[in-house]
Symmetry: D2
Subunit: 260 residues, 4 copies
């Protein structure tokens, strides 16, 4: 059972009637419900408004995959939660960033780049093309699928070269975007998936739900969470795997922490 | 002319007689002198102790490549300088991280990973093997070269999968390490090169000097520094490249900044 | 159940008493037996001496993963079998190349490079280090493990930059080698794993068996084999997803095959 | 001076009046003339109809970069010339594949994949977006540029994951395509660039000419051509870099060729 947390800032659902109408249980509720219809996935939700944004240490410790949707409140995420999530990813927790989460602190922190793009909120047509047809995240999908109303995101997308490009989007207004990209950070699999503007019914779309479920399975790492992921252990001379002798000047003692 | 800054924390040169003996002008002085013997490269130095660590905005603006050596004082680098360097890299400044700079704030910031490793200061033999013989950074080098005394760094090296692996090191005590790795971050080329513990004469070695000069040429981006590297411009509907009409609910106005 | 074929040229097992003593059932028999002790994997064997090298079309069609061990008889593999295997990989069959199979026709065909290296048959110590500790192929392994007697393979290894580097080897005689590398070709996952010289008991080693079983699970693609993997279909103007009109001179008719 | 050969099958220029009108000197003549207006590039042409397709061994030996345009006559290229070109690439010759050359023997040989795609010859609008704005191949280009009439190529494009994605195309009829992709094969830089159907004036376009000139500079490797690129030398025990002794059974003698 892949334990999945669907996190949402849950703001426009409570302030915009249009969004509330589309997602009476929030986008997190819609996504989690779709995942809970999948075999082998168990999804719960968390939101910004809960203590520690719903992501206390023990909950992160018990998650296989975290899905993130943020937009209006990127700046309100506490640094402690950001570091908790990032360290969990390094230790093996899968992470899926949706749509406007390209500007989430956790994504920028893991990428080391601005993660910027161009955009337009016109409800235009988006068509996603599979560029890696045999990829696990593309499982069961047609070679392309459409979302009749979406926000446009345009290239250049300010991210590091990905491990693999899984989807590229065509937009009615003339732009393109690499809509599905994978990276690994430490033991953690990271996937960015573009669609999902809150004023459109994107997360009710069957193909979008298929992508997210596939991504959950792809991102989940069945190993136990790795610990000590930031350690830099000293290997004393006496314990070397091949016999060597100490030579030259030294700045450090055996077993010390070193400089960080 | 490739304008190169060789930055060094310059601490053990002033506190350890062994280091001072090896590098009377500092490691930065040794590296800069070697670079200034190369055609087309103009190297200057900067150190931690100078105002703004020797890296005020106008100096970074005029640099093609920054070489970084830090160890004991990673924590003393001001966040303002870190952000200045990182943004310059995104805009096209080349960055070369030497040895213990794997834990430099600027490197961890650009990688999004812990950048950790195992280590041993025993003056053991290191042998670097070329794994990408035709790479510009390997130009003019033999298929392998040795450093008789070096600190050991061992795998796993906590970095993202690189664009290319240029060198892998063999250590006398039994470890291996990916010693030369490249990444691109925005318009900036980034190279990590492992050797260079301060208690050994590594930066006097002709092959090491060759690698660093090659890396400077590889990392330099002849284009003007890119500006606005974190911008995320709105593209108004009226300016769309293909004719479209506004549809659906809106959260944003034309031309607004969006959420960050 | 992952249907796995372990293919071996099976030559030195029948001509060298030393090899026959180590592997009375052949290396293929040893590897298949280890895999059949794993949950969810069903391994059979095939050898050069069988009709169509034991790999007729219907058998390849029903395989999830093919493991390949070749050395003395690379040139004897029929081109028809090579193309059959290669096309199956493009369609989603996993492929694991062991040791001297770096020079197998199928590997060179899929890589597009010489796949060469340096080598020495001295029974020296090899130590494999994990460079991607959270990778599925590294599951359950210690951070390093040793093979007391192995053939040396040295860098440079003439392959394309991999998707991920999972292992790097240290050799007693002073060389290093990227011992575990992944690529994707079409829908097929490809893994090269270095150890396994026939005069040493490598495939009896528990860590080596763990790597191979992990690699089988990683390489298996649960989707149906993709067909038409070399098709280049014409999309007639009348069927365009967005309305367009024919403009300009034409060399082709709607629906024709095009040039290949 | 970067010695560049522009190769063209030169067929539709002589059989189609529409193509002959657009390119009275052939597409090769048009491209070479544009390159010869660039500082530091010296371009000559070669065509299918010449002996050895205009690519005898000494000419390939003296080339820094080869540009290739093929379409109707892929099958007529002699295997000897294919192997000559491929080995030159491994040794450091740059290679630029244009448009329908996705199906050229040399490209499929270097990629190890089908290199297939979907297509439509409707003279529709193509818009190329830069996805790697700081890349040398994108130097001096706007963030996007248009070709009013082009053949459509659609994803999925059957190639290995590239080193970097430089351009992605938008098509009027609704498709997208990764239009500029880089790989390294041995010491050789390889670039595929999509535009250039022979019935449209694409190679007269200033932006297309800029891309090709940039790609020539990017692909050129100033080192001497590497020789022995397929060698797999034996390293005798007596010459080991670290002292080792022969152990275990042997199948090979010191210095022998090994099996291929």
């Amino acid at each position: 059972m892949i334990r999945t947390i669907v996190w949402n800032e849950n703001i426009h659902e409570t302030t915009s009637p249009a969004v509330a109408d589309l997602y009476p249980d929030g986008m997190h509720g819609c996504i989690a419900a779709a995942l809970n219809r999948e075999e082998g996935i168990e999804a719960t939700t968390a939101t910004l408004q809960e203590p520690e944004h719903g992501l206390p240490a023990e909950r992160i410790a018990g998650a296989d995959v975290l899905i993130w949707w943020g937009h209006a409140a990127h700046g309100e995420i506490s640094d402690a939660v950001v570091e908790r999530v990032v360290e969990a990813v390094w230790g093996g927790m899968g992470l899926i960033l949706l749509h406007s989460s390209h500007f989430a602190k956790i994504f920028k922190r893991l990428m080391g780049t601005p993660c910027n793009l161009t955009w337009r909120e016109a409800g235009e047509r988006e068509r996603l093309w599979l560029t890696a047809p045999g990829h696990p995240i593309a499982r069961g999908l047609p070679d392309h699928f459409e979302l009749e109303n979406e926000e446009m995101y345009g290239e250049p997308f300010g991210v590091p070269e990905p491990l693999e490009t899984v989807f590229v989007s065509w937009f009615q207004g003339g732009e393109v975007f690499r809509s599905g990209l994978t990276w690994r950070r430490g033991a953690g699999n990271v996937f960015y998936f573009r669609p999902g503007h809150e004023t459109y019914p994107t997360y009710h779309d069957a193909n979008v739900q298929r992508v997210i479920a596939n991504a959950v399975r792809w991102a989940a790492n069945p190993d136990a969470r790795r610990t000590g992921v930031t350690d830099a252990p000293n290997r004393p001379v006496a314990d070397a795997l091949e016999p060597i002798e100490q030579r030259g000047a030294r700045l450090h003692h055996d077993g010390e922490d070193g400089f960080r």
